[in-house]
C-alpha cells in the first residue's frame, strides 16, 4: 500500500476546503525537498498530500508599487532570477541563489522555505529584515502576520491546522538603502548554513547611519534580529572601530548550539567575523546593490 494518497486540487478554494477536511492527516506538498525527505525517513507521516505546484493563485512575483507579492508556490530559482527582486530587494535574490543546489532551487519554493521554519532557512533572513508579511487562507477567511512573529522555534510556527500560506508581501528597499546576504557553509553547496547573515543599511547625506537591519540565521532557535546592534549603529558615523564594536555586540546576541555543523564558540567567532565583513560590504557598496 502507498504510504500516502496524492491529490492535486484544481483551485485554491478546493485546496482550502479539502485541506481543512483532512485535518491533521493532510499536508501541503510544494517542492517536496523538505517534506518528502521527512516522510521517507519516518519523521513525518500523513494520509494525504495536497500538491500546490500548479495552482496559479499561489505562483509568481508581482509588483504592487511599494512592495512585491510573491506567491508561496514560487520556486526559489525564480526568486533568484527575477529582475524585479534583483532591483528592489537584491539581498533576497542573493539568498535565494545560494539555497541548496541548482537541482534543489529548481523544485523548492519560498512558501516551503518559510513554513518548514529551519533556523537556517536562507530566504527567511532577508524577509525578516524587510518586515515581510505572510498571507494565509483558510475556510475562516484570510489572515496576515509578520514573518518575525510567525517563527517560533526550529520547525515550529504559528500556522493553524487548516491554514495554507498563499503568499508573502515584501516591502521594497527604499532609495539609498544597501543590502547584502552572506552564507557561511561547511561545503560549497547542499549544506544547510553554519551561519547566515542578512542586512540593509541607510545612511544620510553626511554619512551618518539613519536606519539599519541585521538578521542572523542558524545561531538561535529561529532567525533573529540583532536589535542591540541596530540600536548601537543608528545615528553613528561608521568607521572601522564602530563596525568592529557592532560585530562584537552582534556575536553576544547569538545563542548558537554545538552540533554536527559547528561548535558554539566557533559559531560566535564566525558571527563576529562575518558581521564585520557584511557591514564593511554594506558601507563600501555602490548604491542600489
Amino acid at each position: 500500500m502507498a504510504a500516502f494518497d496524492y491529490v492535486k486540487p484544481p483551485s485554491l478554494e478546493s485546496l482550502i476546503n479539502d485541506y481543512a477536511q483532512a485535518k491533521s492527516e493532510g499536508a501541503i506538498l510544494a517542492g517536496g525537498t523538505d517534506l518528502l525527505v521527512k516522510i521517507r525517513s519516518g519523521l513525518v507521516s500523513r494520509r494525504v498530500l495536497f500538491d500546490i505546484n500548479d495552482l496559479h493563485e499561489m505562483k509568481g512575483i508581482s509588483d504592487e508599487g511599494d512592495s512585491l507579492r510573491i506567491g508561496a508556490a514560487t520556486r526559489i530559482c525564480d526568486v533568484a532570477d527575477s529582475n524585479v527582486v534583483q532591483s528592489t530587494v537584491p539581498f533576497l535574490s542573493l539568498a535565494a541563489s545560494q539555497l541548496g543546489s541548482p537541482q534543489i532551487r529548481n523544485r523548492a519554493t519560498v512558501g516551503g522555505n518559510i513554513v518548514s521554519a529551519s533556523p537556517a532557512a536562507d530566504t527567511v533572513l532577508p524577509l525578516i529584515a524587510m518586515g515581510a508579511r505572510l498571507r494565509f487562507g483558510s475556510q475562516g477567511g484570510n489572515r496576515e502576520v509578520s514573518i518575525e512573529k510567525f517563527m517560533e522555534g526550529p520547525g515550529q510556527t504559528d500556522i493553524r491546522e487548516d491554514e495554507v500560506l498563499i503568499g508573502v508581501v515584501v516591502p521594497k528597499l527604499s532609495n539609498g538603502c544597501k543590502s547584502h546576504f552572506i552564507k557561511v557553509g561547511r561545503r560549497k553547496a547542499v549544506a544547510i548554513s553554519v551561519v547566515n547573515i542578512a542586512g540593509w543599511i541607510k545612511t544620510d547625506r553626511t554619512g551618518v547611519i539613519e536606519d539599519v537591519r541585521l538578521v542572523l540565521g542558524a545561531v538561535a532557535p529561529t532567525a533573529i534580529r540583532a536589535g542591540e546592534t541596530e540600536t548601537f549603529l543608528r545615528g553613528k558615523r561608521p568607521n572601522e572601530v564602530v563596525l568592529k564594536e557592532a560585530a562584537r555586540i552582534t556575536a553576544g546576541q547569538s545563542s548558537p548550539i554545538s552540533d554536527i555543523r559547528g561548535t558554539q564558540k566557533g559559531r560566535r567567532l564566525l558571527v563576529e567575523a562575518w558581521t564585520f565583513r557584511l557591514l564593511q560590504i554594506l558601507m563600501t557598496q555602490n548604491e542600489a546593490n
Binding site: A2, F4, D5, Y6, V7, L49, S101, I104
Partner: protein
C-alpha cells in the same frame, strides 16, 4: 487516491503507466521504464546521482513523485546521445578522464548539458556552481570541469 494513471514523455517517447502515489520519479524511471542510467545515491537530495531534466531543468528525481511528473517532459542520460552519436559533453568526459567509477556521471552530464544550453561560454566558477549539487567521490572535480569547458569549446566551434 493512491493509484494514478499518468503519462510521461521520456527522451521524446511517450509512456503511459499506472503508479502508486508515493513512488518517486527515480524509482519509476529505473524500475518501470528500465532506464537505469540514473542512479540512486542518497534518496534525499544530497548527491545529484538521480538528476534528470524535468521540462528542461535539472532536478533530483528522488524528490519528485512520479505522479507529479504527469504530462511532463523528462530527459535522462539515455536521451543525450543522438542517432548513435555521443554528445560532445560525453566525448569530453571520456577524453579528460572525468569518468572513474561512473556513478555520478549520468547526473553530472545532464547538469552540464542544461548549463551549456543556457551559457555557451561558462567560466570555471560558473561550472563549479552549476555542478555543486552533483557529488563525485572519485575525481576531485578538476577533470569534470575541464571536460565541461572543453565540450563548450567544441560545441561553439561546431555551431559556427
Amino acid at each position: 487516491m493512491s493509484h494514478h494513471n499518468i503519462y510521461l514523455m521520456v527522451n521524446g517517447k511517450r509512456y503511459s503507466l499506472e503508479v502508486e502515489s508515493d513512488r518517486s520519479l527515480l524509482d519509476v524511471v529505473r524500475e518501470d521504464l528500465n532506464l537505469t542510467g540514473i542512479k540512486k545515491g542518497c534518496d534525499k537530495g544530497d548527491c545529484g546521482a538521480c538528476t534528470v531534466l524535468l521540462n528542461g531543468k535539472p532536478v533530483n528525481s528522488c524528490m519528485v513523485l512520479a505522479v507529479q511528473a504527469d504530462g511532463k517532459e523528462i530527459t535522462t542520460i539515455e536521451g543525450v546521445a543522438r542517432d548513435g552519436k555521443l554528445d560532445p559533453i560525453q566525448v569530453a568526459f571520456i577524453k579528460h578522464g572525468a569518468v572513474q567509477c561512473g556513478f555520478c556521471t549520468p547526473g553530472m552530464i545532464l547538469t552540464a548539458w542544461a548549463l551549456l544550453r543556457e551559457n555557451r561560454e561558462p567560466m570555471r566558477e560558473e561550472i563549479q556552481k552549476a555542478i555543486s549539487g552533483n557529488l563525485c567521490r572519485c575525481t576531485g572535480y578538476v577533470q569534470i570541469i575541464d571536460a565541461i569547458q572543453s565540450a563548450a569549446r567544441v560545441s561553439r566551434v561546431n555551431n559556427e
